[in-house]
Assembly symmetry: C2
Homo-oligomer: 126 residues x 2
């Protein structure tokens, strides 16, 4: 946990920021969740996640594979079959992510109430 006057310029903090961006992107968590219980084929994932384009599924899987979060196994059959599975690293990431998820569920009512109050105050001012 390095200290720096400008967290931004610190390489370690940039790494954390980068990881948070990955987790915060539109599809990563949904894909990891879909792989949580079992390995999946490409189109299985596409159906399971729902609403994702082929392009984004491919891109996100490549990033996850590069970081060692998922493995990609090609079976040289015809038609081709590719299985994606979580690695231990990917599964271990799911733990703190789940903590954030549970925090969200626990505090969702309060957040919604806060927003309603804020928006109400804003339109009073307007």
């Amino acid at each position: 946990m390095t200290e720096s006057p400008h967290p931004h310029s610190n390489p370690d903090c940039r790494a954390v920021s980068e990881l948070l961006s990955r987790v915060g992107d539109k599809w990563t968590v949904l894909i990891v969740k879909a792989l949580e219980t079992q390995s999946r084929r490409f189109n299985e994932l596409k159906r399971e996640v729902g609403g994702i384009s082929q392009q984004m599924l491919t891109r996100t899987l490549r990033m996850l594979e590069r970081d060692g979060m998922v493995t990609r196994t090609v079976h040289p059959t015809v038609p081709p079959q590719v299985d994606y599975a979580l690695t231990d690293l990917g599964r271990s990431l799911a733990v703190p992510v789940m903590a954030l998820t549970e925090w969200t569920f626990a505090n969702l009512p309060e957040i919604h109430a806060n927003r309603a109050a804020y928006d109400g105050a804003m339109e009073d001012a307007a």
Copy 2:
């Protein structure tokens, strides 16, 4: 933890996704970190975070305020003085975020190694 064939369309899961995006954006975590120990004034925050534009600082603070993560206190002095502070909600969010941060530090070497291996394999193929 609601079940749905298409997580995307589930309002609870969208809320989680939204929260992850907020945490995953470029500045939120850095601002929360800067407010962790004490309340800060606008330009104090700007200096502390480092590299953020006025516009993004304002926007991010507004979002955090709307969600009830920070309070905004205006002192009617001249020149004007505005203090930002974390709420209990904001502080409680910091807990699971820190868990993710620590996971990152713990697994950074492995991730870097994975990337190097992946990139190496790629340029072999090329």
